[in-house]
């Protein structure tokens, strides 16, 4: 568990180390860090077995009534 968390953080740091020097504008830095933060939070939650909201369930919930209406049989 600890090793996996360390690996995810190292990967994140590696990505930041690789990309950040190339970003000149403040806006680019902001967008990049937001995306990296979302990605890292999701990866850490996955590694630590914290349940994440599942987009597939959301889609199945939204389209459920339509599928039940149209699906034959």
């Amino acid at each position: 568990m600890f090793l996996k968390v360390l690996l995810v953080l190292l990967l994140g740091a590696g990505v930041a180390y690789y990309e950040v020097p190339k970003l000149q504008q403040k806006r680019e830095l902001m967008v990049f860090s937001c995306f990296l933060l979302i990605g890292l939070i999701m990866a850490l939650a996955l590694v630590l077995n914290i349940p994440l909201p599942n987009p597939t369930n959301a889609i199945e919930f939204i389209f459920g009534p339509l599928v039940r209406l149209l699906y034959p049989g």
Binding site: E19, V31, F35, L36, P55, T56
Partner: protein
């Protein structure tokens, strides 16, 4: 100003779109189709071919209204900065989710067929690293790779079907038209959802060398797809029968297993796996690229490359948590995905098309464009 400076020829675009629709369709859909439509699945294929051609014409005619601009630029022009961006983000998130199921389908295939003891997250991570590398290199690079891989994929498929042909029994296609028409229609909806994925061309039209000729690639793409998928479905039904095909996970792969020529050409399914892995990774590259490019345009970045690696984290996590098991992937693909893809893709395209028609009428009186 467009981010992508690279240009691809129309021939490369044709092959890229064909590959991006075909790579997963040819392996996944026959089982789903025969479950819904039984031995009448060929009729679903024909209906879907027509639907796909219409969707393609429609998508290209939207793109050709603004041949110099990509999806994000003209949806901002048409719908305003906030609403236009929201529509584009829906596009990007849809392709993110498509990518997640593709990555999952890739690891499902490798685990069930070739390396059963490997945890699937390892395969997901490896594939996403490969794909992120391809996207990082840019549109021109993976379109050129696709120009080599896709004809090979087609050739290998053709040879395998030709070798399997002596075993086929076309009596299995009888009796005709015994299944309910709604089942057949649902089958064609499943296929049409894969055709609808071709809407990613909207982001590529400004990168074509001759955007004006984009309409000419629609017919060849639909004919290639129709030919391949109908040979696939008819061959599978006549080899295994509709009942048996619908129970398999990847029937095309099982077909490759049955091939034996003389006593020495056997087990060529590893060839299929190799080619399929390369072709599905090209498919994921195309969608990954489009999704990242849309996000970069939406947030007004100068380049899409800073987003590639953070996106890879999100993609790996989604592909792992999105579906509980293989059965869930299959259930999702046969029930929900057709409606999701068709409504999201054709819905947004239709919406933009209507908006652009209004815009055009406005412009007629005043300035000319």
């Amino acid at each position: 100003m467009a981010i992508e400076q690279g240009k691809i020829s129309n021939w490369q675009a044709l092959l890229l779109v064909s590959n991006s629709i075909l790579a997963s369709m040819v392996l996944i859909t026959p089982a789903l189709l025969t479950k819904e439509a039984g031995q009448d699945a060929w009729l679903s294929v024909l209906i879907a071919g027509l639907l796909g051609y219409l969707i393609g014409l429609f998508v290209v005619s939207l793109g050709l209204r603004f041949p110099e601009k990509n999806l994000v630029e003209y949806s901002i022009d048409l719908l305003g900065p906030w609403f236009g961006r929201a529509v584009c983000i829906i596009f990007a998130l849809f392709f993110l989710h498509v990518n997640a199921y593709l990555v999952r389908a890739f690891s499902v295939l490798l685990i069930t067929e070739t390396i059963p003891d490997t945890p699937f997250s390892v395969l997901n991570i490896l594939l996403v690293i490969l794909v992120a590398y391809g996207v990082y290199l840019g549109l021109e690079v993976f379109s050129r790779v696709n120009e080599i891989i896709f004809p090979l994929f087609m050739l290998a498929g053709l040879i395998i079907f030709a070798l399997a042909a002596p075993e086929m029994d076309f009596e299995q296609l009888k009796p005709y038209l015994t299944h309910s028409f709604s089942g057949i229609l649902w089958g064609s909806l499943i296929l049409a959802s894969f055709y609808a994925e071709g809407s990613f061309l909207l982001m590529l039209i400004p990168s074509l060398r001759n955007p004006k000729d984009a309409r000419r690639i629609v017919l060849p793409v639909s004919l290639i797809l129709l030919a391949v998928i109908s040979i696939d479905v008819v061959g599978l039904i006549s080899l295994f029968g509709a009942q048996e095909t619908s129970r398999m996970l990847f029937p095309t792969f099982e077909l490759a297993k049955t091939v034996s020529l003389g006593a020495f050409v056997e087990r060529i399914e590893s060839l299929v796996v190799g080619l399929w892995v390369s072709s599905v990774s090209l498919k994921i590259m195309a969608f990954y690229y489009v999704s990242v490019l849309i996000l970069a345009e939406v947030f007004k970045l100068k380049d899409y490359r800073p987003l590639v690696l953070p996106y890879a984290f999100i993609l790996v996590v989604l592909s792992v948590i999105g579906w509980e098991d293989t059965n869930h992937v299959r259930f999702y693909l046969s029930r929900y995905y057709p409606l999701v893809a068709v409504t999201v893709m054709t819905g947004t395209t239709l919406f933009l098309y209507i908006a652009s028609s209004f815009r055009r009428n406005d412009k007629k009186g005043g300035e000319t464009q």
